[in-house]
């Protein structure tokens, strides 16, 4: 059932407009000096030449979303008694996300293992995930901050995507990778793409050739855990960290959240919003105790979760897709690659080893 189509560059907007009749369509566009995913607007240029500043994470995992709407009302029989009614607010409609990169979309597979787990399925996430179709754009060349191939992926890895689009002369080769993807490729604007498959294949090979050698991270889960108690390691790694949340919010695979109540008058909402483990409040307990009191503790959790805890639980899969946004957009250039490699290479000082043995 392999379905391959070809779309002329000139027809891209028309095709997205067709798709927008039945779906909410998101595509990257310029906003100020940044490129972000926004509802497709035929009046605006689609910015797909380079990876977007923000991944399309919010299309499935919004920056904030309603979980429960609640209303207060007075009990007619006892006016001093306030009754509360809570109603779930579930996401509706279907969406198409065009122009994400392989790393961006692969990020959702990190969510899937957690949010779609049998024992605790998150129906909000599930509804969006199942109703969103990803047309992913294969990368032509890596940026300096790209390291998808370090984490068992690559510039044309379509894991998690429904259609893989490859730039070829004059347009795009579109390969359906799922039933959802096939269903999108029915437009009359699309030509049969069989004859251009080779061209796409060649583009994929070229992209792979441009990658530099990747270090072996298979030892990372164990090694990162080994330095857990070496606070000097984390203090040095976190020294320049500002403890903001940019890395987490730009990360396609960071999935932590907060739940808060917001009320106006007799109505309110329980919302879920992005949260990040670099924030001091994240683990701050009401008693004032904080299990991760400094940025070193918090960075340890961030790196530990991605490169040790998550792979330990989920068959060795590193919860990082190598998009490099956390490096590129970090206000102080913290490089997670460097930290992981340092952890792998870390040799405890001799005195310390002795202390451990005692």
């Amino acid at each position: 059932m392999e379905l391959v189509k070809y779309l002329k560059s000139a027809d891209l907007k028309s095709w997205l407009q067709e798709l927008a009749r039945e779906n909410r369509v998101f595509a990257p566009r310029n906003e100020g000096d940044s490129v972000i995913f926004a509802p497709f607007d035929p009046e605006q240029e689609i910015a797909i030449v380079h990876p977007a500043t923000l991944p399309p994470k919010k299309t499935v995992f919004p920056q904030s979303e309603k979980l429960v709407d609640f209303t207060y009302s007075k009990d007619p029989e006892n006016l001093s008694r306030i009754m509360i009614d809570g109603k779930e607010v579930l996401p509706e409609g279907t969406a198409v996300v065009f122009g994400g990169r392989p790393c961006d979309v692969r990020g959702f597979t990190m969510f899937d293992r957690v949010y779609l787990a049998e024992k605790s399925t998150d129906i909000y996430y599930q509804a969006r995930r199942e109703n969103t179709t990803f047309i992913t754009l294969a990368c032509e060349k890596p940026e300096t901050t790209c390291f998808c191939h370090w984490v068992d992926s690559g510039p044309t890895d379509a894991t998690g995507s429904d259609v893989l689009a490859t730039v070829v002369d004059g347009g795009y080769v579109l390969e359906a990778l799922s039933d959802k993807g096939s269903k999108l490729l029915t437009s009359t604007l699309l030509e049969n793409g069989e004859s251009r498959k080779d061209e796409a294949r060649k583009a994929h090979e070229k992209a792979a050739e441009l990658l530099q050698d990747a270090p072996d991270l298979s030892g990372a889960p164990k090694k990162v855990l080994q330095v857990f108690d070496t606070m000097e390691f984390w203090e040095e790694a976190a020294a320049k960290c500002l403890s903001c949340g940019a890395c987490a919010y730009l990360c396609p695979s960071c999935y932590c959240f907060n739940i808060t109540d917001e009320t106006i008058g007799m109505k309110g909402t329980r919302i879920r919003s992005w949260d990040n483990c670099m924030s001091a409040q994240f683990t701050m307990e009401a008693s004032g105790h904080n299990p991760r009191p400094t940025k070193a503790h918090r960075l340890r959790n961030r790196v530990g979760h991605k490169f040790s805890y998550y792979p330990d639980i989920h068959d060795g899969v590193i919860s990082c897709c190598g998009c490099g946004r956390c490096i590129k957009s970090c206000p102080v250039g913290t490089d997670i690659r460097e930290i992981v490699l340092q952890a792998i290479e870390y040799e405890p000082a001799v005195g310390e080893e002795q202390a451990d043995e005692q």
Binding site: S34, L54, K240, G333, D335
Partner: protein, 319 residues
């Protein structure tokens, strides 16, 4: 930089008495620098001072209180140090300041724009007048003055205001390349709905990472910020532009009479939101009313912590 070796010598001399010296070194690509924490002798060699030394390292000082810290400062950074001293947020005797004559730092956003894309920089050579950047397919020669951060184009304090070591020759009072607040004034000439709409549009893409706050050397509440407080409940966690604008107003107001316009808030923003303008507006009004400038005199009393019975430049409304 000519004085870089001299600076390294000064640091080498001072390091034995210090826990750490803050400087800059190379980063993930040749176009970027990153803060460098010099703890050991061998770290000194990595120090690099250049127009890429954009970060205001004073941001780290309050967090290092209690330690003996050396810090390399540009003129603008030194104003943040002065302000922190003025507010008793750091102890002068714990800080060793290394100054140098700063000829300006780049604005990465301008370079990105000039290159079209800055993701594949191979080399970057900076001379007194030009930045030559080699990307994977092309060499770009950019005029340094055009790539300078706006704050450098209007700079009046190129030499550190206070320092314990100063390397190189002081520049003195430079001729600014631009007049202060020209962009702000252009913005103010827009219509009311245009101004209102501008912020809604620009801040809509804010992801509330609060890098603007975390990078700010004078946002010293750190883990107790109004942004996340539930009591008082200034902001909701909803993704709405109202709360994003409100946070920027809170930031600007909390900086009133304190902000030195180092521009870290805007530089840190991962989605390039021009948030510095709000602080500039606040500063210009404070300058006009109180003839006050933050971060130039550790002994000065900030305008909002004092008053006059009769305010010379405040005209109250007649009813």
């Amino acid at each position: 930089m000519k004085f870089q070796e001299e600076l390294k010598d000064s640091i080498r001399k001072a390091l034995p008495d210090l826990d750490v010296v803050l400087g800059w070194c190379g980063s993930f690509d040749p176009l970027h620098a990153t803060p460098h924490f010099i703890r050991r002798e061998e770290d000194i060699d990595k120090l690099e001072i250049s127009p890429l030394s954009v970060h205001n390292l004073a941001t780290y000082l309050p967090g290092l209180r209690g330690k003996k810290v050396g810090i390399v400062v540009k003129g603008c950074d030194s104003r943040s140090v002065v302000e922190l001293l003025q507010e008793n947020l750091i102890n002068r005797e714990d800080i060793t300041i290394f100054g140098f004559p700063c000829t300006g730092v780049v604005d990465q956003a301008k370079i990105k724009k000039a290159l079209g894309h800055a993701g594949n920089v191979r080399t970057c050579d900076i001379s007194d007048s030009a930045i030559v950047i080699q990307t994977e397919d092309k060499a770009h020669s950019l005029t340094l003055t055009q790539m300078l951060a706006d704050k450098c184009r209007t700079c009046r304090y190129p030499d550190a205001i206070i320092s314990d070591y100063f390397v190189g020759d002081k520049i003195g009072e430079p001729a600014p390349l631009e007049t202060d607040y020209a962009a702000l004034e252009a913005f103010e000439s827009l219509s009311v709905p245009e101004r209102f709409g501008y912020w809604l549009k620009e801040l809509d893409r804010c992801i509330r990472c609060y890098a603007c706050r975390s990078a700010c050397p004078l946002c010293v509440c750190r883990d107790h910020c109004a942004a996340e407080s539930r009591d008082p409940h200034w902001l909701s966690q909803e993704n709405n532009v109202r709360d994003k604008v409100m946070f920027q107003v809170i930031h600007a107001y909390h900086m009133a009479g304190r902000c030195t316009e180092c521009g870290e808030c805007q530089r840190a923003c991962p989605v390039d939101i021009p948030v510095l303008m709000l602080k500039q507006k606040m500063n210009r009004e404070i300058r006009d009313i109180f003839q006050y400038e933050a971060g130039v005199d550790p002994e000065a009393t900030p305008p909002l912590l004092s008053f006059n019975m009769e305010e010379e430049n405040i005209t109250e409304k007649e009813w």
